[in-house]
């Protein structure tokens, strides 16, 4: 980790020194344990602020749209997938972007740590390689990294960046293909059960739109929830409207969602948003054999129509 | 506790009049349903009200009528949003809600004994009409000195209150200067943009106040002209048009610096505005 951080700092320093880029977007140390924060480095003397550890969970692709000048970004696999998807949508000019790819084998889920500590406050973390020691006032709990890992990262098969100009660190070993067990378990439930489950979860929503804003692919200048002509949805955090909000969000992400889990991580209320987005990811993959942002060549699934397109999704069970 | 400021007063639309030739501005006349209602709505020129179209929502509009014209309220509204569009389509006889009067008003007390220069552009002439009408009322006219009104629009068809303008033109106690942007056949008045016409008229700043409402670009270029004429920021009065919802200084939408445009405004002197960040 330390080595990787140093390599990232060196890379950033060199890019800025050589005036290849005007800005490096990376991760900086956060103000809380197990947290990093996006860092914007413009002077090579500030490159030392960049860091790399298990908390670099934010998707930095969010900061690359509408940028002037040349920008470098520190990108994990999921960041690069979002970058690829955004390039395809004309949102990022690849020529002006330098990608410092960093293979990632999974980031830590703070909520899991919180649950493990059952509300006790985490004050310090000691990294012991495969395990972390979570410390607070009067306690120290050792937890396996794998147990604290985000669910997103567990199923992610694209830990190694799919596109980069420079790769720091070793590619992560290939994983078994995502078999969407979570989605299948959800699908196995009866429609009534599914509805109940979603309603319970989404009743917690406070409509802060952190999920939407954290999503690298949600970038409409005016989100449908804000539209007044027509009013698609009421703004009050009513469960039915919350469900509508997420349903439409998922539809808008069909064939675009890169399954980075940013929505899930951003939600202050701990709603399992990824459970909803992944259903669509699975449908698109199964029906069209398409995964968003995994390469520069494929055309987004819903951008093209062929007579052979499968149609079962049009048919109600 | 005082009256619930969120509750609208029902009023009846008695006239939905197409004011401009592009049909985008209508003038609405609303009547009170009772005398008590009228008493509960004491207003002054420069104030605004939230008109509520039931089923669509409410939106703030400056009151174009003057308290000297009892029995009704008048607004001139451009068709831009959901509420204004609904208003434009509204049948006469329909009930709407009226919330107000809201905001402060033109400083009529401080203006007493002074010469008044009113400068308006386009459809921002509404509360200025209220003001001029108020001052032209015989019992008020004596309180003020010379009254100069400079009013312009893109073309004659876009001028508001054409009949009244014609009447004012005939009067000797008001100096009305109407102007349009470009020459049009049949127009015998002035031609030119407001800043230039103001320069030509060159109103004296001695013992005077200037009240100016119009599109941002007009204000931007007229300000230096007024400055040249010697108007100090304290002598220039403006009315802001921020987005508002509650109208009572709570919802935070029209907050500019430490002021709420709805509650502390919308009327500010240039001097007051100079103290605020330019977020309006």
């Amino acid at each position: 980790m330390q080595k990787l951080a140093a390599a990232i700092q060196d890379a950033a320093k060199k890019l800025l020194d050589d005036q290849k880029v005007d800005l490096v977007v990376g991760f900086a140390r956060g103000s809380l344990p197990l947290r990093s924060t996006p860092g914007f480095i413009r002077k090579s003397c500030d490159a030392g602020k960049l860091t790399w550890d298990y908390s670099c969970e934010n998707n930095l692709a969010n900061y690359l749209r509408k940028r002037e000048g040349k920008v470098a970004v520190v990108a994990k696999g999921c960041d690069t997938r979002a970058i690829v998807a955004l390039i395809k949508e004309n949102q990022i000019n690849r020529d002006n972007l330098y990608i410092i790819g960093v293979p990632c084998s999974g980031m830590i889920d703070r909520n899991k740590a919180d649950e493990l500590l059952d509300g006790k406050e985490l004050l310090e973390v000691e990294d012991k390689g495969d395990t972390l020691v979570l410390k607070g006032k009067g306690f120290a709990v050792e937890a396996k990294l794998a147990d604290l890992c985000h669910d997103t990262c567990k199923t992610c098969c694209y830990g190694t960046p799919v596109v980069y100009d420079m790769l720091i660190g070793e590619p992560v070993p290939a994983k078994a293909e995502d078999n969407f067990d979570d989605v299948r378990a959800f699908e196995a439930k009866s429609p009534a059960e599914r509805k109940k489950m979603l309603a319970e979860d989404l009743s917690k929503c406070i409509r802060c739109y952190a999920c939407r804003n954290a999503c690298p692919m949600c970038y409409c200048p005016e989100c449908f929830v804000d539209c007044s002509t027509p009013v698609w949805i009421e703004k009050a955090p009513d469960t039915a409207d919350n469900m509508l909000f997420q349903s439409v969000r998922v539809l808008h992400l069909a064939g675009r969602c890169v399954d980075c889990g940013a929505c899930d991580r951003a939600c202050p209320m701990g709603i399992n948003l990824r459970g909803i987005t992944r259903k669509m990811v699975k449908e698109v993959k199964e029906l069209f054999g398409y995964e968003a942002g995994v390469n520069m060549e494929d055309k987004p699934a819903l951008n093209e129509f062929t007579a052979d397109d499968p149609q079962p999704f049009l048919v109600k069970e | 506790m005082q009256r619930n400021p969120y509750l609208p007063l029902p009023m009846k639309l008695v006239k939905n009049f197409t004011e401009t030739e592009d049909k985008l501005i209508h003038t609405f006349t609303f009547e009170y349903l009772s005398e008590e209602d009228e008493k509960s709505f004491p207003y002054m020129p420069g104030q605004f009200a939230e008109i509520c179209v039931f089923g669509k929502g409410e939106a703030p509009f400056g009151i174009a009528s003057s308290p000297t014209e009892p029995g009704h309220l008048k607004f001139s509204v451009a068709k831009v949003g959901v509420v204004s569009t609904a208003l434009h389509m509204m049948e006469e006889g329909t009930i709407v809600g009226m919330r107000g009067p809201l905001g402060n008003y033109y400083p009529l007390e401080q203006m007493k004994g002074k010469n008044v220069v009113i400068i308006g552009g386009g459809f921002a002439f509404t509360t200025l009409r209220s003001l001029a009408t108020y001052m032209l009322k015989p019992e008020h006219r004596g309180d003020y000195g010379n009254l100069t009104v400079i009013y312009g629009a893109r073309n004659p068809g876009l001028l508001l209150y054409k009949e009244e303008l014609a009447e004012w033109d005939k009067r000797s106690d008001i100096d009305l200067v109407c102007t349009i942007d470009r020459p049009v056949e049949g127009w015998s008045g002035r031609v030119g943009f407001i800043p230039n016409v103001t320069k030509e008229v060159s109103p004296s700043s001695d013992n005077a106040v200037a009240i100016i409402c119009g599109p941002p670009v007009m204000i931007k270029f007229t300000m230096p002209v007024l400055e040249e004429c010697g108007f100090k920021p304290e002598q220039v009065i403006m009315s802001l048009e921020n987005r508002m919802k509650c109208g009572i200084g709570m919802c935070g939408r029209c907050n500019v610096g430490s002021k709420y445009v709805c509650k502390d405004g919308p009327v500010f002197t240039r001097a007051e505005l100079n103290q605020l960040p330019n977020e309006y």
Binding site: G30, S31, L32, R35, T37, F40, N58, Y63, D114, L117, D118, G119, E121, L123, K137, I206, C208, Y209, A210, A214, P221, E234, K235, P237, A262, R265, A266, P268, G270 | M1, Q2, N4, P5, Y6, P10, L33, F54, G55, K56, G57, E58, S84, I95, G97, P216, N242, R243, C246, I248, G249, M250, C251, G252, R253, N255, V256, K263, P277, N278, E279
Partner: protein, 338 residues
Amino acid sequence: MIISKSAISGLLDKLIAEYQVYAPVKEGAYSLFKQIKSGSEADFSNKNSKIPPKGILFPQSEKLFSYSVTPEGARVDECVDSAQKVIFGVRPCDAKSLLLLDNVFKNDKYEDPYYLTRRANTILVGMGCNDPAATCFCTSMNTGPFDSTGMDLLLVDTGDNYVVEAVSDKGRELAAKLGLAAAGDADNAAAAKVKEAAEVACQVTTEGLKAKLDGNFYDEIWDRVHEKCLGCGSCTYSCPTCHCFDIVDDAVDCNGCRIRNWDSCMYPLFTLHGSGHNPRTGGKERMRQRVMHKFKYFVDNFNATACVGCGRCIKNCPVNLDIREVLADILGSEARDK
């Protein structure tokens, strides 16, 4: 006065019989203030609730009135909630925040009957913070872990008991009604000891902040501090003093109701005028508004900072944009006003 911890549940049940009682309820790893139907639902183990209790007095979505229109007029029925409420276990920061909100909902010209009615009918039973969180900076924001300002009663956790301090007449009445036993000197001493021991480790320098903000509206610091902000509303919605709202109609034809919903100055459409003009176009302007409003405009108007140091925005921010760091950055920046 004193209550043993084991008696709390029964005490709450007693209150429930007479009041709508709100208390922290555990939801997974966090807790939320909810109306409880039984004393056993309450749980005071978390440091503070995920979302502040302000929503009890100023709900995220509330019906202002309903209406029906006829050709002759309109029938308008206001929906003011005058139920008697008790918020039990409110922390000092949140109690303080309600005092701040009072300024907003009763300004120099207008009174908001919805908030004020609820406020008048609500008793705040506060609970001190023996062990403030690392994100707490209340002491820097004119309050503290046992500051009882704004409360009616204050509970101090002395281990097995809560030592109860009456703060207001309303509090005294409630205590009398509940027939709370008097605390012994030992208990009071224990309480005093707890209070003393409570330490807010985090200190945010506010000295000179207001002066700085008075002159740095056009400073380039604003170009930097907002940069990582995603523009969501998780900070404003978890802030006990944020109070921006929107008013909408929900109607079929001419019968419907007017509703007010929380809104956020961080949303781009918040200030968008019907003409298309937006005085605050970008993230920078909106971030500046949020900071300015809390630390300057509110101070200008009410002589108090609209921040109580509860730290929720720090915890809830998806990108760890820490208000403490923002304030430090602002203070450390070179003033360069236009």
